[in-house]
C-alpha cells in the first residue's frame, strides 16, 4: 500500500464521501435516523438494562444475531449512537466508546497485547500513558520500549517479533512534536504491526490517521470532541487501514475467523475486553459528547487560529525564553504538521520563562485563562506540567517527554484571540513586576 498520500478510504456509502466534517458531525449516518433512533436530538437512554418480549430475543442478542441492547455495560443506545457518529465523522469502520480516554487506550492495549509482548511507544507521550505502560502493564507481562518516534529508523529497529503495536500521539503532549506518519504507516503495513495514534489533540478535520496507514485512532472525548469540559470519556476508532487477518494470535485473530474481518478489531475489543473490564461510557456522557462534537470543526478552526496568534505574540515577548508550537515556521515539527494536518497545527502552545517560580506568578496573574489540568476546553487553560501531570516522574523521563520546570502549557480556547493575547501579556508583565 502506498502511503505517500492519503488513502481514499470509503467505508460508507459513496454519497458520504463528499460530506464535510461538520455535516457528518451534525447529521451522522443518513440511515441512522431510521434504523436506530428517530429523534433529531438523541434521547438519553438512562436505563441499566433493556426489556425483550421473551428469552429467545435475549438469546439472539447474546449470540450476536441482533444489535439490540441488553445491558448498558455492554451497549447503550445513546452510547451506540455516539460510536456510530464518531465512526462516520472519522471515516472509520467502527468506534468503541469508553469511560475515559485512558480507558479507551487501555482497551486497545489489552486487545492487541498479551503477556510476553512489547509495545513500541514514543518517549514523548502523555504522563498518564507513561504510567500505564511503564508501571501497570509490566505487572501483566507486557513491556514497553520507549523510542524517539520522530526517527522512523529508531521505530523500525525497535519493532520486532514480539511487538504488538506501535503507539504515538499525533502531536506529543506537551513536547508538541509530530512524527512522520507516512513512514510510520508504511512501517506498520510492512511489518504487519498495527500503528495506534492517540489523536486527541487533532480531531477531525485536522488529521486523518487512517489516511497515512494507522490502524487505530484513540481520542479522549473529554477534550475537543465534547469540547466544553463537561464530561470525561474516550473512544477508539478502527480506521479501516489495517488488515486484521495479519494478526495471527489473540482475540483479534479469533474474531477475524468468525465475523467480517473488517470488524475483527472492534468485535475483539468489545467482546473480549471492554464488556468484561467494565469501562463503559454512560448515556449522559454520550449525549453531551454528541452535542459537543457537532461544533468540533467550528471550535477547532478558531482555536488553531488563536493558538498561532498567541504563539507569535509570545515569541515577541521579552520575558519569554522559548515558544513551542508546531505551526511556527521555525519549530522542528513544522514541516510534518504542514504535511499531515489540515486547517491548523492544533491549539496547544507551550512557552518557557526564566524559572518555575516565574511560571507560577504568571499563571496566578491570568484573568481570563484558567489554571486547570485539562485541554481542549472552550476556555483557555494553563498548567505547569513539571509539577503536576509529571510530578512523580524522574527528571530524565520528564525531559525526554519535553517537560521542563520553567515551562507552561496553554490549551487555547474559543475566546476572542485579542483577549487571550492581552491576558498573557498582562500576566507576564505582572509576573516580572516586583509587586506581581
Amino acid at each position: 500500500m502506498s502511503t505517500s498520500r492519503p488513502n481514499d478510504r470509503k467505508h460508507h456509502t459513496a454519497a458520504n464521501a463528499d460530506l464535510g466534517t461538520s455535516t457528518r458531525a451534525v447529521h451522522g449516518y443518513p440511515e441512522q435516523a431510521s434504523d436506530l433512533v428517530p429523534d433529531l436530538v438523541p434521547p438519553v437512554w438512562n436505563s441499566a438494562a433493556f426489556a425483550f418480549p421473551g428469552q429467545e430475543e435475549i438469546a439472539d442478542a447474546f449470540q450476536g444475531r441482533s444489535p439490540r441492547p441488553v445491558y448498558s455495560r455492554i451497549a447503550n443506545p445513546t452510547v451506540t449512537q455516539l460510536e456510530r457518529r464518531v465512526a462516520f465523522l472519522t471515516g472509520g469502520t467502527a468506534a468503541l466508546a469508553s469511560a475515559s480516554g485512558m480507558g479507551a487506550l487501555t482497551t486497545v492495549l489489552m486487545t492487541l497485547a498479551e503477556a510476553g509482548d512489547e509495545i513500541v511507544v514514543s518517549r514523548r507521550i502523555f504522563g498518564g500513558t507513561i504510567h500505564l505502560l511503564d508501571e501497570v502493564l509490566p505487572r501483566f507481562g507486557v513491556r514497553s520500549v520507549f523510542v524517539d518516534a520522530e526517527d522512523p529508523a529508531a521505530v523500525a529497529e525497535a519493532a520486532g517479533e514480539q511487538t504488538a503495536l506501535i503507539l504515538v500521539e499525533s502531536i506529543s503532549n506537551p513536547a508538541l512534536t509530530v512524527p512522520d506518519f507516512a513512514r510510520l504507516g508504511e512501517l506498520s503495513q510492512e511489518k504487519g504491526i498495527p500503528l495506534v495514534v492517540d489523536a486527541t489533540v487533532t480531531p477531525p478535520p485536522l488529521f486523518d490517521p487512517g489516511a497515512w496507514g494507522a490502524a487505530l485512532a484513540v481520542y479522549s472525548t473529554t477534550k475537543y470532541l465534547a469540547g466544553s469540559g463537561t464530561v470525561v470519556g474516550g473512544v477508539s476508532v478502527d480506521t479501516g487501514a489495517f488488515d486484521w487477518r495479519r494478526i495471527t494470535r489473540g482475540p483479534v485473530a479469533e474474531h477475524a475467523q468468525r465475523i467480517d474481518p473488517r470488524f475483527a478489531f472492534a468485535a475483539a475489543a468489545r467482546n473480549a475486553v471492554h464488556i468484561h473490564t467494565g469501562g463503559c461510557m454512560d448515556a449522559h456522557t454520550a449525549f453531551l459528547t454528541l452535542l459537543g462534537l457537532e461544533t468540533v470543526e467550528l471550535r477547532l478552526s478558531r482555536q488553531c487560529e488563536s493558538a498561532l496568534t498567541l504563539a507569535r505574540d509570545l515569541r515577541e515577548n521579552e520575558h519569554v525564553t522559548h515558544v513551542g508550537y508546531p505551526g511556527l515556521e521555525d519549530h522542528p515539527s513544522y514541516p510534518a504538521a504542514a504535511r499531515f494536518f489540515q486547517g491548523g497545527s492544533g491549539a496547544i502552545v507551550t512557552f518557557c520563562l526564566d524559572s518555575a517560580e516565574r511560571c507560577y506568578r504568571a499563571a496566578r496573574n491570568l484573568r481570563i485563562a484558567r489554571n486547570v489540568v485539562n485541554l481542549g476546553d472552550s476556555r483557555t487553560l494553563v498548567v505547569h506540567p513539571w509539577s503536576t501531570i509529571y510530578h512523580d516522574h524522574t527528571d530524565r523521563v520528564r525531559r525526554d517527554a519535553g517537560v521542563y520546570p520553567e515551562m507552561l502549557r496553554v490549551s487555547v480556547g474559543i475566546e476572542n484571540a485579542a483577549d487571550i493575547v492581552g491576558d498573557f501579556r498582562q500576566a507576564l508583565e505582572a509576573a516580572h513586576d516586583s509587586t506581581g
Binding site: E31, L36, Q63, R68, A75
Partner: protein, 72 residues
C-alpha cells in the same frame, strides 16, 4: 422459497435474492454493521451485491455491537 435465517425456518417471498436484497427484505437493523454468514462461511462485504441465496441455504446475520457477549 424456504431457507433458515438466524437458526429459524423462513418462507421468503422472493427467488434467489442477493445478500443485499435479503438484507432489505428482512429489514435487517444497522446493515452497515452486520456480518453475513452463508452456510457457515463469512461473506466479504463486496460480495453482498453478487452472492445469491438459494433454497435451503442457512444465513446468519451477526453483530459485534449491541447485544450480549460474543457473536456466534
Amino acid at each position: 422459497m424456504q431457507l433458515k435465517i438466524n437458526g429459524k425456518d423462513r418462507e421468503l417471498d422472493a427467488s434467489t435474492p442477493t445478500v443485499s436484497q435479503l438484507l432489505e427484505l428482512e429489514n435487517v437493523e444497522a446493515p452497515d454493521m452486520v456480518s453475513v454468514q452463508l452456510n457457515g462461511t463469512i461473506l466479504k462485504r463486496e460480495e453482498f451485491d453478487s452472492q445469491t441465496i438459494s433454497p435451503g441455504d442457512e444465513v446468519e446475520f451477526l453483530y459485534f455491537m449491541g447485544g450480549g457477549s460474543a457473536p456466534a
